[in-house]
């Protein structure tokens, strides 16, 4: 799990204090450091490592009516990899990731660059208002959009009817994925924008002021100076989006209440694992699904990081 080059702050600018003291004070300092990290790692092991291992352990068993839990080897994994409901949910989230994440991050990047260029009036207000949905719980966001989507009394349908477009059905099986993409986009553009904006503000001005004096346009500067400079921050938002997408839960489970036909119990992998465990009582199989999902997310994140690294290396090779 240590394969996170983008996040590895190996070369921090600050070095630890020089160590020219006697070995007793050195030992005292090491002891203090261990005591400082101890509470975090106690909870870390208890709440992350132990459940992870336990989940792996559970997934190797099968619950039989007679005989209780019996060791089943990889049976659950074989079943999961042949389970069309699980595979379809992964595919659905893959589609979600390919369509929604570029829209969300593209919008966030555009907003961050626009705010950083300071060419618009009321930038501060824009920044805060766009960020605001982040403070809204996913449950409330989904409830709210659920009403807004409503075909009878939702304001979108009201406006659409008033201008003669008829009544759009956002909650039909064909449209629900898009409607969910919209909710997630609404929730997280601001958050990603703030991460990118903060990174933009930290670019040393000299990097592009020379280009500005030379008369390079804002688009040119954004493309060839600013975006490359904040690539680590963009990568961070991509990784967070991968994790977020494949873990979607509140959105499908609340939309299920108002659109039961469109949201199946395996609409997202996470929602499927929940239904397997708590509705079907198939704990061992659910553990295998959750474990596979975790592995899948780790692999996708790793591939994304690797490809960015390779691209950077290629670019540096040509430069």
């Amino acid at each position: 799990m240590s394969h996170s080059p983008a996040l590895t702050a190996e070369r921090l600018s600050a070095t630890p204090p020089p160590t020219h003291r006697t070995s007793t004070s050195r030992r005292k300092q090491n002891l203090a450091a261990y005591l400082f990290i101890l509470p975090f790692f106690v909870v870390f092991i208890a709440m992350l490592i132990v459940p992870l291992v336990y989940s792996g352990y559970l997934s190797l068993f099968e619950s039989k009516l007679i005989g209780g839990d019996v060791f089943a080897g990889l049976t659950n994994y074989v079943r999961a990899l042949q389970d069309s409901a699980f595979l379809a949910s992964l595919g659905r989230m893959g589609l979600f990731f390919i369509i929604q994440v570029p829209i969300m991050l593209g919008l966030a990047l555009f907003l961050a660059l626009a705010l950083d260029s300071r060419r618009a009036r009321g930038s501060k207000g824009v920044r805060l208002l766009v960020f605001m949905p982040y403070a809204v719980p996913a449950v409330v966001a989904t409830l709210m959009w659920g009403y807004l989507y409503g075909s009878d009394f939702g304001p979108i349908a009201q406006i659409a009817r008033a201008v003669g477009f008829g009544t759009p059905d956002f909650l039909s099986p064909a449209n629900i994925l898009g409607s969910m993409m919209n909710i997630v986009t609404w929730e997280f553009v601001g958050y990603n924008m703030i991460i990118m904006y903060a990174a933009l503000r930290s670019i040393p001005g000299e990097l592009y002021e020379a280009a500005e004096i030379d008369g390079a346009g804002q688009f040119r500067i954004a493309w060839s100076v600013k975006i490359p400079a904040i690539r680590p921050a963009i990568l961070l938002t991509v990784i967070f989006s991968i994790i977020g997408t494949f873990q979607l839960f509140a959105e499908p489970s609340l939309l299920n209440v108002i659109a039961p036909d469109a949201i199946t119990n395996s609409f997202t992998p996470n929602y499927y694992a929940y239904n397997l465990a708590f509705i079907n009582q198939e704990l061992n199989y659910a553990a295998a699904i959750a474990f596979l999902l975790g592995v899948f997310i780790a692999i996708v994140s790793y591939i994304v990081q690797l490809s960015t690294q390779q691209r950077e290396r290629r670019e540096r090779g040509t430069a």
Partner: protein, 308 residues
């Protein structure tokens, strides 16, 4: 492994102060009308749903379904709605609100303390194993927390801790990202000379942390605190599986429950205005917290994302 860190590290020192002020050349900024219009149109997309929520909180159930959604209509029923909201089922909504505050403040305070101590140690001490342990922490950022929810639930139920506040608070104490952020922040917010000077003066390591370290970590602390606060405040999955007693629910699970009841019971339509008013009340505290503390979390985030 890559050079992103060194490249990004160039301006971290400036991240805590006002960066733009340090730039010598300030070009004439031409305002662009087109960009201004475009940005504010985009803002509409983000604000209109919240505007709708505000407007809806002032409508009674009939007006909710008979008037135009984005403008006031019918009687002004905000006070009646609030009254209903806080009196249904013997005032359980207030209970949910209090639970949410309790769970998220306790989780955020604990998570911030743990992350700060660990981040400080990683930044300021060179102890055997620090690199390996920090790598493990970073790797854990990738672990999807929901993959852990099911086994955590089973472990808690064996320990008899499900259906108690601990089942929400303890799992929320782990924030690998918080440790990462605090390490980056502590690395340049606390000068090594200051620590050395305190040592020469005979201060113990813990006193240095409490009296020198914490004082300089303000914005970093606020950032980690706010973002863990939001994570717990907005969490739905964990409390949904951990809690059975509705007196223990946080507001997210509670609202989902009233919504389900409102959708299921055709006769109890009066509940819809309660759901919208409840949603409105649920989002207010966090929005206010973010507005008032923006100076801190924005500069705190700046440092973290630079190194990200």
């Amino acid at each position: 492994m890559t050079s992103i860190d060194t490249r990004a590290a160039v301006t971290v020192g400036a991240a805590t102060g006002s960066r733009r002020a340090k730039r010598g050349y300030v070009p004439e900024r031409r305002r662009s009308l087109l960009l201004t219009v475009l940005l504010w149109l985009l803002v509409l997309y983000f604000v209109l749903p919240l505007w709708w929520l505000l407007v809806s909180a002032t409508k009674d159930n009939a007006a909710l379904f008979s008037t135009f959604g984005l403008w006031f209509g019918g009687d002004f029923s905000l006070l009646e709605n609030l009254q209903t909201l806080f009196t249904i089922r013997d005032g359980i909504f207030a209970r949910w609100l209090l639970n949410t505050v309790l769970y998220s403040v306790a989780s955020a305070a604990g998570a911030t303390l743990l992350a700060t101590m660990a981040g400080y140690a990683f930044a300021k001490y060179d102890f055997p194993g620090s690199k390996a342990l920090f790598s493990v922490t970073l790797g854990a950022i990738m672990i999807p927390l929901t993959a852990l929810a099911l086994p955590t639930y089973l472990l808690f139920s064996q320990a008899g801790l499900t259906d108690t506040p601990w089942a929400i608070i303890i799992p929320s104490l782990v924030t690998p990202f918080g440790v990462y952020l605090m390490r980056v922040y502590a690395a340049d917010a606390i000068p090594n000379d200051l620590i050395e000077a305190a040592r020469v003066d005979g201060a113990g390591e813990f006193r240095i942390f409490w009296q020198v370290g914490l004082r300089l970590l303000g914005p970093g602390l606020v950032t980690v605190f706010l973002f863990s606060l939001v994570a717990t405040w907005n969490n739905y999955f964990l409390p949904l599986i951990m809690l059975n007693t509705s007196e223990l629910y946080p507001i997210t699970v509670g609202l989902a429950q009233i919504q389900a009841a409102a959708s299921a019971g055709g006769g109890s339509q009066a509940l819809f205005s309660t759901v919208t008013t409840g949603s409105f009340v649920a989002v207010l505290p966090l929005i206010i917290a973010f507005l008032f503390l923006q100076r801190y979390w924005q500069s705190g985030l700046a440092t973290g994302s630079v190194k990200g």
